[in-house]
């Protein structure tokens, strides 16, 4: 298996992922996207709560 991957690397000049590695990378990517989305929401809500009524007090 390792030899085959090494051969593939040499042939194509790059790292060739196995199906399992691709599946796990996709799962990690989705998890990172979800965490980033949650962080955006988290910072937004925290900002609104911390600012309170001041969020409306701004020059028009």
């Amino acid at each position: 298996m390792d030899d085959k991957r090494d051969d593939d690397r040499n042939d194509k000049g790059g790292v060739v992922l196995t199906e399992e590695q691709k599946r796990r990378r996709r799962a990690r990517s989705i998890a990172i996207a979800l965490v980033l989305g949650a962080l955006v929401l988290f910072f937004y809500v925290i900002t609104i709560v911390k600012l309170g009524p001041n969020v409306l007090r701004r020059p028009l």
């Binding site: 790292v15 196995t18 796990r24 990378r25 990690r28 998890a31 925290i46 709560v49 911390k50």
Partner: protein
């Protein structure tokens, strides 16, 4: 011990960061496992109690935010612990399937993950709550990862006694998040967990002494034997009893808490006295110690809800 020498016994994938670049095998569950979710749940629970029984007021949304930061900070400490301890984890049956010794996560991934979570949790807790709480969280992570994991764990049988301070700080962080400071009541919450830690871990160590001996970790049963370990378990159980009921004695908690702490403490003493070696009694003490801490803090919360805020607390008024 140098970082290089810690690679002994680990799969090549887990050790050879940079030597040969391999695609990561880590799954999402491996990163969750790095954060030690079971430890994290106890941290979150005790921090929640500290936050709710404190006399200060924190907006519920900010309170949830603070708890998330404390949870992530605890996860960071767990990841850094697994990064450093990967070599001995590989030698113990209980820890051999953790992500690094099992070869699913590289040490570099664990280190980067832990440091990122540590920095993020501290900074965000400072912004969400206050910088006293953030400073305590930073100190807790440092204490667990550096003082306990890197310094004490492999050098002294008092490792979990001193290192227990890291596990005892979360209620104080929760308290600080709500009040912006600490107080006598928060100190008692700290002391309860601090004195609870030795009987809890030494009961486990009695059952796992062979594992620790193989890994070269100088846990008390390995270094001083079963008899001395049992003696010290009993001493800490005795010391814990008055400290656990102290919040009621100083008028900071109500009678429900006082009665529960006394009853649960007596049961802990009885179980500690039954322990003779690594048999069923040690397992029973270990299991009960988890229930003891959970019940104590849960009843403190219920007591607080029933009898109002801390009655004669230092922060009253």
């Amino acid at each position: 011990m140098s970082l290089m020498s810690q690679g002994a016994g680990l799969p090549s994938h887990a050790v050879a960061d940079g030597a040969r670049l391999e695609p990561s095998l880590a799954g999402v569950t491996d990163f969750i496992a790095l954060m030690k979710p079971r430890v994290m749940s106890l941290v979150v629970f005790t921090a929640l109690v500290g936050l709710l029984v404190a006399p200060g007021h924190l907006h519920p949304v900010l309170g949830v935010g603070a708890l998330i930061c404390i949870a992530v900070g605890a996860g960071a400490a767990g990841a850094l612990n697994m990064w450093y301890d990967a070599d001995i984890d590989a030698l113990m049956a209980r820890t051999a399937q953790r992500p690094i010794p099992a070869g699913r996560v590289t040490r570099g991934e664990a280190l980067g993950f832990g440091l990122t979570l540590a920095a993020g949790s501290v900074v965000v807790l400072g912004l969400v709550a206050n910088w006293i709480a953030a400073g305590l969280l930073a100190f807790t992570i440092f204490f667990y990862a550096v003082i306990y994991t890197m310094w004490l764990k492999r050098r002294t049988p008092q490792n979990i006694v001193i290192g227990g301070a890291a596990g005892a700080l979360p209620p104080m962080i929760g308290w600080a998040a709500a009040t912006g400071g600490t107080g006598l009541e928060a100190l008692f919450l700290f002391l309860i967990i601090f004195l609870w830690t030795p009987p809890h871990f030494w009961a486990l160590a009695l059952c796992r002494a062979g594992d620790y001996e193989r890994a070269g970790v100088p846990m008390l049963p390995v270094v001083a034997g079963t008899r001395e370990t049992v003696r010290q378990i009993r001493l800490y159980a005795i010391a814990l009893f008055p400290v656990a009921i102290a919040p009621w004695l100083i008028g900071s908690a109500g009678p429900l808490y006082g009665a529960t702490a006394a009853g649960a403490g007596l049961a802990l003493l009885v179980l500690a006295w039954r322990v003779q070696g690594s048999g069923r009694e040690a397992k029973a003490l270990f299991g009960y110690s988890i229930l003891y801490l959970f019940v104590l803090f849960a009843v403190l919360l219920v007591d607080h809800a029933l009898f109002g805020p801390w009655i004669v607390g230092a922060h009253a008024g």
